[in-house]
Point group: C2
Chain length 593, copies 2
Amino acid sequence: MPSYQAPVRDMKFVIHDVIGAARYADLPGLDQATPDIVDAVLEAGATMCEEVLQPLNVVGDREGCHYANGTVTTPKGFRQAYNLFTEAGWTALAADPEYGGQGMPAYLALAFNEMVSSSNMAIGMYPGLTHGAYRAIHAHANDELKRTYLPNMVSGKWSGTMNLTEPHCGTDLGLMRTKAEPQSDGSYRISGTKIFISAGEHDLVENIIHLVLAKIVGGPEGIKGVSLFIVPKFLVNADGSFGARNGVRCGSIEHKMGIHGNATCVMNYDGAVGYLVGEEHKGMRAMFTMMNEARLGVGLQGYSQSEVAYQNALIYAKDRVQGRSLSGTKAPEKAADPIIVHPDIRRILMNLKAFNEGARALCLEAGLKADLANHHPNDADRQAADDWMALMTPIIKGFLTDQGFAHAVNAQQVFGGHGYIQEWGMEQFVRDARIAMIYEGANGIQALDLVGRKLGMKGGQVLMAFMADVDQAIADAPSEFAPLAAKLAEAKDHLTQGTMWLMQNGMSNPDNAGAASSDYMHMFGLVALGYMWLRMMAAAKSKIDAGSTDPFYATKLVTGRYFLERMLPDTTSLLAKVKVGAEPLMALAADAF
Amino acid sequence: MPSYQAPVRDMKFVIHDVIGAARYADLPGLDQATPDIVDAVLEAGATMCEEVLQPLNVVGDREGCHYANGTVTTPKGFRQAYNLFTEAGWTALAADPEYGGQGMPAYLALAFNEMVSSSNMAIGMYPGLTHGAYRAIHAHANDELKRTYLPNMVSGKWSGTMNLTEPHCGTDLGLMRTKAEPQSDGSYRISGTKIFISAGEHDLVENIIHLVLAKIVGGPEGIKGVSLFIVPKFLVNADGSFGARNGVRCGSIEHKMGIHGNATCVMNYDGAVGYLVGEEHKGMRAMFTMMNEARLGVGLQGYSQSEVAYQNALIYAKDRVQGRSLSGTKAPEKAADPIIVHPDIRRILMNLKAFNEGARALCLEAGLKADLANHHPNDADRQAADDWMALMTPIIKGFLTDQGFAHAVNAQQVFGGHGYIQEWGMEQFVRDARIAMIYEGANGIQALDLVGRKLGMKGGQVLMAFMADVDQAIADAPSEFAPLAAKLAEAKDHLTQGTMWLMQNGMSNPDNAGAASSDYMHMFGLVALGYMWLRMMAAAKSKIDAGSTDPFYATKLVTGRYFLERMLPDTTSLLAKVKVGAEPLMALAADAF
């Protein structure tokens, strides 16, 4: 059976010493998160995840969810675990105190969510989706709706969902058919079918608050006529008691490759009562609040599976003896050496370690940027943080999930044949990780978002600000890191060349941008991780310079060097592919395939 | 439900026009395979695979094998399908006529096996393993054993297995504990436990012929004391009738990530009667006959899953409408354009197509080399073909399965959310493809075999011969392909640089060879596919020059160009990684991870 130990030590390092969250401890909304509180939350979170959620991960996968007559039963133990989770207040962690939340920063919630996802991704999705729905309602709904729905969503008594996809419409939401008919009391009646609705129906909570995209009858065509509605499973009376069962029913659940413990539902809306969130026909804006948060969460899922897969591969690599080291016997007392002595096993483990730690640092930086975007008193700082988030969201989602999956596959490889057997649990990490590349906008869509929308934001200034940050990190690097900083400078130069190529060729032929997009996104992701690594190395070095002998810091230096020397060079080939352009991709007529 | 259409047209092209099998039609053993016969076999094979095996692929995955009290029941329909398969003579295709085989060439059997594997990998493993066991017995056993076992294995009445792995010993077979005690009648008694035995027990045949590695009591320590034995499930009397049930029993079957239709067994040998194959303590040599054949077959499994995944992704990409082309609406009559218009979808499809066709050409070339190694009357030619096979086997196994899996994952991505749902069948291709990276020597072992054994064979002459072939293809390329031939020359130069680096650094520190091995193997695989592509393009061009207007040839040129321009440049980054050396990988103490 696989195990999991939350990387609390590394999270503390990143929060305290790399992103330097304490610098902002005087800002409203961040002022409660003193270093002591942060540490205490991380430690308590680790206990919850390791002791309550993780033991149910295999159980959830084996048993899956059960559907019968519109109801969904979660796997054995999920309900008790969920209750412990909510009773301990974890659903309220980063929510608004006005609605019962603890008002903790986003970066801390992200750190906790990594643990949740590593320990049990399927169960973590129930509160995860609730928080996304909470965010959209909090940002866009009127006060009455907020008062009615948010407190119970914050406490976890109710859960939330997001309903976008229909059978014929996924990426292209303009094709949507679900309709909303205005009623005389100001509410709407929602009718249509939504598919792939995670946590659409289940037995963990008393009420489920669906956020549903639909078109108001008579409104504009296409995406411009889409509005967002709250559709509760049970109507809620003015006094907070339950009214009638609403006209929304789960028609079936999907049989999926992974995340078996989470119910993926077909939801049928049949004249269900819905309440408009925000303005008419502005549903996409409201939904993007939710989706951007969800995309960060999904990026985190990508590396969270790689992290837990790494931990188990490492244990196996130290335990399993097979063959002798190429450079001479290392464990003469054993029949063979532990396989961690073999360079190709090392390569896999170092790739995993360097990726996971870099990804974590990038996500926690994103969390801090989210906090600054929400709370910084200075307009310009708030806007800069928001811009950074906009730029980095598709990279975090697309790059970290592509790579997280690939690394989970490599971790499975360390186990040889045992990696393919369910009993060892490694193949579950791979199956679970796979969905993160798909949902919340398939990674191809993330890449298009990056090259099509984000690069050109504000005339390229957002991109330039990131590039300047990278230059600063290179300039700030201690002199002994100069050869490694030069590696980052080289990779950044590749990214700049790729960007220039896109500017010169993507306007004249948009297919050039599309053809380059995925490889460009990966190049960007590598540079972003290289940037975080250089910062981590600088932080570790200042601890060592200050006299620390904790091997944690020396290990950081070795791992960072590995990333910069041996993983970052992938930008070379990626740039070559970016520059090939669309023509060789588009040359065949569709019939010629 | 997924579909499959055997790529008969492409196979004919490769066999007749690229590898030019007919050039050898006068050699004994190849003389029956006239072009007409080859075409007829491919067409009949396609019918068998499309109509009998493929419809059971999903069934086999859903139902899996059942274990009860030592017996294994295969999924519903497998037995009837297997009977149709054997009755039509497919198990005899490439077997020796002396034992009832049809004596067809290995390249033709490989083409057929690709179809089998694409249509139903799990069922294909039963006859696949039988053929491997047949080969080892045919090459190493005495005449009496051959007469006793081969005819029924060739007809498919009996099946075969290979038993290497034990719970504590996979790669490192020197740790083996299964023992063989010599008996006065010349037989042995075999005792021990073997795991991961594919097709170890099942209900498709009357008898199962296990090939078992074991150590003769009192023999040399480690790998030098390993011998190979035939251990039949039922003993066979001199008259061919069944004797006693032998002391070998299936203890359980594994629950695996994929290939659910194939029984992966724990086999318990308890004083089972065994017969020595070949010489005492020379079991590894005999086993390698089987393993090299099996490794080719596994390489083929890798791209066969990518092939069937491609076919289904292509159908979906033409059918699914979503969004509009970046370069202007392509299907104004529809609500949206088919997603094949989007460059990022094209990128995935072209990657799949270019990889699959290149991989097929390489495997069929390998098949022809196997035929030449067996049948060429000239010693030097036979040896050269055998050397080529030795060099290319780890590349075909390691590179084609790593890439085949990655491409199957990308094909799944084309489906968006539907790719994650079992119903669509794409996730099964991914799960099934995953095992090919692991069994018959995990891919890390293939990479070590390549850099540790194969590169240095005959003082590097085997490698040089391949390099000379690549140079020849570049020199022979029509002048209009010069810019593309230059791409191959550049990639070959990277491979040469990598090889030089290994020569200079791998001897002094073997860890350098290990650290570089996987990336070097991938670089080699890319060059090998580039080489096949240049040959395919030349063959297609001569058809066009001869007046053919079949769009098949024009498509080959476009696809080949895509491979050379957009996939081959990965050698750049791979070379950079090769040259990094072992130090950054090995710098951390095991405890510091």
